[in-house]
Amino acid sequence: MLTNNLYNLCGLLLFGMGLFALFACSHLLRKILAVNIMSSGVFLVLIATAYRPLGAGEIDPVPHAMVLTGIVVSVSVTALALILACRVQETSNHSLSQSERNTNDGDSEE
């Protein structure tokens, strides 16, 4: 069970680290990275559930499929987040921490 436990431990630690970084970093890119680290952590824990000690039966393919799905989702979200971050940076030189303006110009003309 050692491998399994190691995976779990690492995964959960990564999750926790990512969570901390998400709140602690104000930089947009770092936030994206933090979330990615978190998701890696979750995937580690997930893939660890597929583990079977030798001779205890076949390896479970369902977590594999789930992780694959999760990775694709994470890639998509990361891409969108990166582009958003780029746009934010381009248009306003803002970083998220100082963007508390609740301006309301979603419908305005310019």
């Binding site: 999760g70 958003l84 934010v88 419908d107």
Partner: protein
Amino acid sequence: MTIFNSSAWIVAPIIIPLIGGLLCFLWRRDTFFIALFISLANLLSVTTLLRQFLLFGPLRYRMGGWEAPLGIALRLHGPALLMLLMTAVSGIGITLYARGYFSFRISALKHNNRHEQQERFFWPLWLMLWTALNALFLSGDIFNLYVTLELVSVSAAALAALSGKPASQIAAFRYLLVSLLGSLSYLLGVVFVYKTYGILDLEMLRQIATPGPGLQMALTLMTLGLLLKTALFPLHFWLPPAHANALAPVSAILSGLVVKGSFFILFTLWFEIFASSITANALDLIGLLGAGAVIWGSLQAIRQQRLKLLVTYSTVAQLGYLFIAFPLTATENISQEVWTAVTFMVMAHSFAKTAMFMAAGTIFLQVGHDRIRDLAGIRKSLPITSFAYAIAGVNLIGLPPSGGFIGKWLLLTAALTSGQWHWSLVIIAGSLLASVYVFRVVSRLFLTPDEAIIQECRPHSPLQEWPALFLAIIALLLGLIAPYFSLILETTEIVANLAPGGGL
């Protein structure tokens, strides 16, 4: 009519908007007509499902023909059906309104390239979001729910950023990250569930789930994630900027439909699948947060100077009511009523809030701003919109016969019958605060000032005004068609078996 008895109809609300979304991205011409056709086809399929539901009871569908633990099951039970209906009706309204909104912007404003581009991408994203919501309501698999949640998040975030304003992009970024965080937390919960039970199907989980440390942790994680996505106070920080800065049809979608998705999952998990593991303390805690949301959200709404922000904070407040229902389910004999109450509040809020954002958007476009102070006498130039706003407001206050009233009445009854009367005080206080923020605006709109500060009304299509009124009136009359809803909600047993496969 064998074709209407085909079991394949249950996937129609997922497949139809999906095809529409793909087509809108590929085709790019006549996107509105594609979307309109899709909306109507979706309504047809949901109506067919309603008929099947009334004839046969709850439905279950094996994706790919694989039985549950291996394959993914779709399930259609009463609440899911009502959510589908709600989305179908709101969706038609939003589709029509969006057409009016974009064509007004394209024809009347500068930078029409940008507006054309916004419209071009609005349609595929909106139809995809619709797909995602329908898939979410129908899903019967705890991991598939994660996928649908992500589908919702990504399309909703893309929509929220559509306006292209820096503020909206920051808000959308934050929204995306928060959604992702919520989804991850939910996914970790799913992992724990899978570790413990080795099963992902909801029905099977319901049968075998017993209280234990694993399930408790899983439930905590999933709940945290979903609460974050549903923006329960104090996790609501991301919602006001994201909803207020988006384009009006998008705000309507986000506030009216999207937050209901994660709430629906949360409610299903707590009160259907893992009901046996829920402790009274957890219920009280959620109720307390809900009460906080009602009070805080309402107070914030009262403080706002901008119309769209006011409407947004009222979403925070109204979502609180849904959580006040949680502790009221603790008593066995009234939990059915609380279910009904919650469904009513969700539906009424969805229609009313959609209508309200549409009205706010129309006012914004016509007047050029939405400072509440300077909105006096809008009724003159936009009578239908003002009416729609007022009627939607009546719903939010929860005056009879609106759906919101039925919900509040049932919650009050549950609170007083079970002796938890402190919740009833919050509900009453929330209504009063709601009437303050609603009438702050309504009294302005309906004012007839002496000096003519009324703006010239720019020509606009009826599509900009009527959908809002239509939805607001539906919300208002929701109470009167209550018997049919309780009929649907009370059908929990399978009445007859639907022929497997199709008659196609």
